[in-house]
């Protein structure tokens, strides 16, 4: 089944595209999905968390594909970028959400053209904008996520995500596979039991849960710096530890010091909150670290860009085959070479 069909069939209304690095092919993926949607007559809405669709990437100054939008599509973007677009737009709403590039405007495309997209920055605004795009008529809303803004793919806003990865991650294909697999793993962690979720929801702070279902909140400012204190409170009766916010290498190391940790479950908000060193993470996971998430993210597919802007590239077939081996349950699409799907 083609990617767009999967989205429609599951009734996913909001899909984010997360690039694991700049030039991982996120924009190509977005263009690909748009094209696919057009072929199936699906009305799409598009927005982004970073500035996108420019001819050259702001960060690396490398030629970047623009986002081509066609008549009938809905777009939410900042005013300055809208004014530079070659597409003709009917203005539907001025949202009052401001960004560095001006107020976010919602438009309907009346004549096709290339458009630059710079949407809202905060998760709350993003949620509003996605709702508005649907309100005006978008059946599927694609959110182009920036590398440092994984938060928009949080399940609170989107129904599913597509991960864009590629040669740019490393000259070593093994590393590319490893990093991609890690990202997918983080997103698709097991969901926590409903009764534990209820306890955590009530407390809504970093807490230590005992076998009687009692939650104790440690006296810490943030989880990042409170690893030692949390660790001290874990004992033989602890069954779960909930970490609100980011899980860093330092935090994980401090928790790992506790001998009971192997027996208990670490609960995090969702996969976008993991910021640990991959090797350490993999080693701990192997040694028995159990991690569950309050919210799981649907990873619909991984898209590949076998070419790195630094000039090196992988054989697209080989990369695809290897990726399929490390991610047997995930759809893998090479969007740069053609986007053919099995």
């Amino acid at each position: 089944m083609r990617l767009i069909e999967t989205i429609k069939q599951n009734n996913y209304e909001t899909v984010s595209i997360i690039g694991l690095a700049k030039n991982a092919g996120k924009t190509v993926t977005l263009n690909y999905l748009i094209e696919e949607a057009i072929n199936l007559n699906i009305k799409t809405g598009i927005t982004s968390t970073g500035r996108d669709g420019e001819n050259t990437d702001l960060v690396t100054k490398i030629q970047k594909p623009a986002i081509l939008v066609t008549e009938g599509m809905y777009v939410a973007t900042a005013k300055k970028t809208l004014m530079l677009s070659t597409a003709k737009a009917e203005i539907l709403e001025t949202t009052g959400i401001s960004t560095a590039m001006g107020e976010v405007i919602i438009i309907r495309v009346r004549q096709k053209g290339n458009i630059q997209i710079a949407g809202p920055v905060t998760a709350k605004d993003m949620k509003y904008v996605a709702e508005r795009l649907k309100h005006y008529g978008a059946e599927v809303v694609f959110i182009d996520g920036a590398i440092d803004r994984k938060a928009v793919s949080s399940p609170a806003i989107t129904d599913a995500c597509v991960i864009a990865t590629g040669a740019v991650l490393s000259r070593d294909m093994k590393k590319v596979l490893e990093k991609t697999a890690h990202a997918v793993e983080c997103c698709s962690l097991t969901g926590t039991d409903e009764h534990v979720k209820n306890i955590v929801r009530k407390v809504n702070k970093t807490c230590i849960i005992s076998e009687e279902g009692k939650a104790v909140v440690p006296d810490i400012k943030t989880s990042i710096t409170g690893g030692k204190k949390i660790s001290e409170m874990i004992d033989e009766k602890t069954t779960h530890v909930f970490i609100k916010g980011a899980v860093t290498s330092a935090l994980l190391k401090e928790l790992w010091e506790n001998k009971y940790l192997r027996g208990i479950k670490l609960i995090i908000e969702d996969g976008t909150k993991i910021f640990t060193d991959i090797n350490m993470w993999n080693e701990m996971r192997k040694k028995g670290l159990k991690v569950e998430a309050m919210n799981t993210i649907n990873v619909l597919a991984v898209t590949l860009n076998p070419i790195s802007p630094e000039g090196y590239f992988f054989d697209s077939e080989v990369l695809k085959e290897n990726m399929k081996k490390v991610l047997p349950r995930i759809k893998v699409v090479d969007v740069v070479s053609g986007g053919d799907e099995d």
Binding site: K88, I105, G338
Partner: protein, 527 residues
Amino acid sequence: MTENTMKNINFDYIFNEIRPITEYGIRAKQEAKPFIKGQEADLKTEFNKIRAFIESRQRRDLIDVLKHTKNIFETIHRAKSNQVLDEVELFEIKNFLILVEKIDKILRGISDTDLKLLQLTPLPQLYEELDPAHERLNTFYIYDEYSQKLKEIRNEKRQTEKTIRLLKKKIKEEIQEKYNIRLNLKNEVAISKSQKERIDELNKEVNLRVSGENYLNIIFKIKNTDEIDKLEKKYEELTYEEDDEEYKIRQNISGSIKEYSDILQKNTKTIGEIDYLIAKANYAQKTGSIEPEIINELQITIKDGRNLKLEKTLKEKHIQYVPIDLNLNKNVSCITGANMGGKTVTLRMIGQIAAMASFGMFVPCEYARLCLFEHIFISAGDNQSIEKGLSTFGAEMVNLKEAIKSSDRRCLILIDELAGGTNPKEGYAITKAVVNYLKNKDCITVLTTHYDNVANDEGIKNLQVKGLNLPDETDLSKTDNIEHVQEYMDYRLIEVKYSSDIPKDALKIAKMAGIDEEIIKDAERYL
């Protein structure tokens, strides 16, 4: 009223609670000036408008419309200075016109003569210009209907685009069929270098060109035919023409907007006024405030007056606020009575009510009748001046000087414990002299004092806090908690005619606060 006074009587808190929705309303609030003596009739009209909004069912509808109001000051200004507005700005103007029409319609539904003063001017002619297709939608686009030329350009563009698409599709299909290959969305195909023959074959194909190469593959891409190249160039030219035409259209509309800019600006101002009035109406309703009667004679009469800031604090602690009655019909009034008897609170309340009335707000009481003042002063524990390095007494004197300087005009002067921080003998003397001075001015002066004999003057009104009302003496030592004072305190004020002495509750309160019995006993000996 100085900023200091505003803070000291907690009027800043009250004014902050007035919350207009739109930026126009916020501006109207910022620019609001107090009504002063001589503007009684204007104030009356202001009150009528507020009452009309409180009483009208349409207030909700208006609030709904105001919530969608965007600030277009900048856009109007740009049009006025001959700038060509962009599509988003035109969209904003269009929406503003729709909004004005809506508000105007709602206002017409309210049959109040004073609200008729809030005149909005709908601009249907300008609206027509922004809706040439008569869609009656609140979206905006440079519609085809703006000009025949635009329509033609766009049609031709569309045709050209379609031709290009079909031509490209045809070539793609032909190539795919001819060589049995699949081209991707970018019309590219990667061929392995090992397929030498295939590469040679494709190299010869006129409609393909090599677009890239790596150590494994050669990438071929569809080449534009001369015909397509020509059409694409044409498309590009049409786009320029279209942009040109659109610019002219925007220029025309911007010109019309410029013509109407004064009316547009006036409308923003009126919307601001409406918004501010509604905010005042909302607050009046929320705080159970009423329209005060404004008179010319020097007088303040308040029935069941409440200090809003304190009332809110008490409410949070689930404590009932005791409203106060007051009748200040002489130039100078003294409030005397027990410590913790709410004298300062009452003083602030008087200031609040007078300030609220002068800012055209309803006032928190059952009934109020008062005149307008040109200035309001308060001297009460002025911390700011103390921070500047003045002592309590020094700060008081600086404040007092200001008040006295202005006392030739109609002022409300509120003084809390004048000279309480200095020696009783001189303190009394200063207080008495100030009172003597102010009692001949066209001002209302209210002072709280502990000094005996200050209020003991024919021309001065003496209001006394009823004070502690304890069941019996034994209760005192049991309670042992200063917080219980308020349970036994009767905050109401009574007018005292002939008594010169001030009730002495200080020792009782000291006892309740838990001061050593020995000290209390000893103190009683000195009385």
